[in-house]
Symmetry: C2
Amino acid sequence: MAPGTEGRDEESPAGHPSYVLNPHLSTIKEDILYHFNLGTASHDLPAMFGDVKFVCVGGSPWRMKSFIQYIAGELGLGDPKAEYPNFCEGTDRYCMYKVGPVLSVSHGMGIPSIAIMLHELIKLLHHAKCSNVTVVRIGTSGGIGLEPGTVVVTKQSVDAKFQPQFEQVILGKTVIRPTDLDEELAQELLQCSKEIDEFNTVIGNTMCTLDFYEGQARLDGAFCSYSEKDKLNYLNEAYSAGVRNIEMESSVFASMCKLSGLRGAVVCVTLLNRLEGDQLTSPHEVLVNYQLRPQKLVGYFIKKQLQKSN
Amino acid sequence: MAPGTEGRDEESPAGHPSYVLNPHLSTIKEDILYHFNLGTASHDLPAMFGDVKFVCVGGSPWRMKSFIQYIAGELGLGDPKAEYPNFCEGTDRYCMYKVGPVLSVSHGMGIPSIAIMLHELIKLLHHAKCSNVTVVRIGTSGGIGLEPGTVVVTKQSVDAKFQPQFEQVILGKTVIRPTDLDEELAQELLQCSKEIDEFNTVIGNTMCTLDFYEGQARLDGAFCSYSEKDKLNYLNEAYSAGVRNIEMESSVFASMCKLSGLRGAVVCVTLLNRLEGDQLTSPHEVLVNYQLRPQKLVGYFIKKQLQKSN
C-alpha cells in the first residue's frame, strides 16, 4: 500500500489510488454529485473524465471559462476563441470546463463554497478512476508588504491566529487538520515564474479568513470597531509570521488535498498591498492584467509537465 | 437616539437610521462596493435604490432572477416573463435585480459568501439613504423530522453545538454575536402561510454549518469517519435542541441583521428529511416545486405589507 493511502476505499483497482476516504461510498448504488448536476447513474464519469491529470480551480466562473480557452490555445488542443461546453450547465452553483487532461472548475467565494466543490470533485475523480492528479487553485488575494501584482505560491495556509491548521467541525466536535501544501510543487511553480520572467512570484504563507471585511482587518466594511493603528498592528504581526497574502479558501483546499492524497498548490495574485489600503482602486485593466498572471503561470507549468511526460 | 442605533454613523439625516456601524466610512471619499461592481462615485445610489423597502436574498443567481420576475407579476409592477436588468452585470460574484420597492440579490453558498454580500448590501442601503427595510433570506435546506417540502421560518440560528451564536473573528480574536431573528416578522410569515394554505410552514431553530458533508453528518462526502448510528444520534440531538432544518448562511445573516438594525427573517424549504437519507433523490420537478414555496410565501407577505401601507 502506498504511503498515505491507508484507509482509502478498497474498491479502487491497483494503480488507481483512490482519493476518497469514506467506507460508505461503495455501498451507495447511485452517487449524485448534486452541486455539479452530475451522477454515477446519469453520466459515464470514467469516459468523460478518466484522462484528467490537472484540475485548476478558482472563485470566478468567468475566469475559469477564460482559463480553459487560454489553456486550449497554449496546449494546441483547441481554439482559444471557441466556446467550451459547461459540464455543470444544469446548475448555477459551479461551472466546469475540460480540454484534454485539464479540468477547470469554479468554486465561488469562501471555505464552505470551495469545500462543497472539493468533496464532489474528489468523488468525481474517484468515480472516473483518475490517477496522478495535480490540483491548483488560481485566485486573487490581498498582499501584505508586496508590490501589487506579485504572485504568491502558498507554503502553508494559516488561520487568523497565524496557525497552520484548519478546524473542521464533525458531529459538533472540532477536528484539527494540517494545511501545508506540496513543497516540491511550489518550488516547480516558482521555477516556472523565473522562466516566464514577466512578473514577480514569491513563496509565502497565506492567511485564510472566513470574512473579507472585519476578518481581514479592513476599515471599509459595514461594521468596524477597531482603529487604523489596530489594523496595521495586526497586518504587521501577520507579516512577521510569514504571511504574504490573505484570501478565503486556501485552508480547506490544503487540508482536503492532504487528506485525499492529491498534489495541491495555491497560486494567488495580490491585487493590492493591504499595508497601504483596503479598497481596489487600481484601474480595471490593471486588475484584469494581474488576474491573468496565475493562469499564465499554471498554463506554463502544465505545458512543461506534459512535454516532460511525452 | 432610537434604541439599537447607538454608535451608528452620525452622518445619516434624521429619520433615516443608518444601518452601518463604522466611523471610518464617512472619511472615505469614494466607497467602491467591489463585489457588486457599484460605487458611490460611479453610481447615483440614492436615485437607484432609495425606494427599496424589501430585500430578498438567496444562494442561487437563477432563483433570484426568477424571484424578481415572480414578484413583478404578483405586485402588478411588470411582466413576469420580462428580462430585468442585473445591476451587478459587470461582475460574476453576485447578481441583483429590482422591481419597485423590492430588491433581489444572490449570495452564493456559505457564511463567507453571504457575509461579503451583506457588508456591501448594508453599505448600499446606507449610501442610498433607505429606511424601514426588511431583509428575507429565501433558501433551501435539509430538514430534520419534517416532511420534505415543509417550509421552516427560523426562530434562532444555532451553530453545530446548537448554541444560538455566531463567532466572528476580528483581528485574530473571536467575538460572539447573537443570532436571533425578528420574532414578530417570523409570526407574520407563519400567518401568511396559513392564509396561502398550500404547504406546511413551521417556526423552528435552524442549524448553520460551515460544511455540507462532514459538517452536516452526511455519509456521502469524499471523507467520512463516523457511522450511520453516530450520524443519527447527532441529528436526533439537534432535533431535541429545537433544530428543524440545516443550512449554511443563517447565522451570519441573523447576526448582521441584528447588528445593523435591519428587520430580518430566514425562510427555507426542506428538500429532504435528513433522518431518512443524505442525497436528493426526489424528481427534479418536485424539487423545483419545493423551491418555489419560500418565494411564494415571501411574495404574499410583501404584497400584504404594501396593501397595508397604502
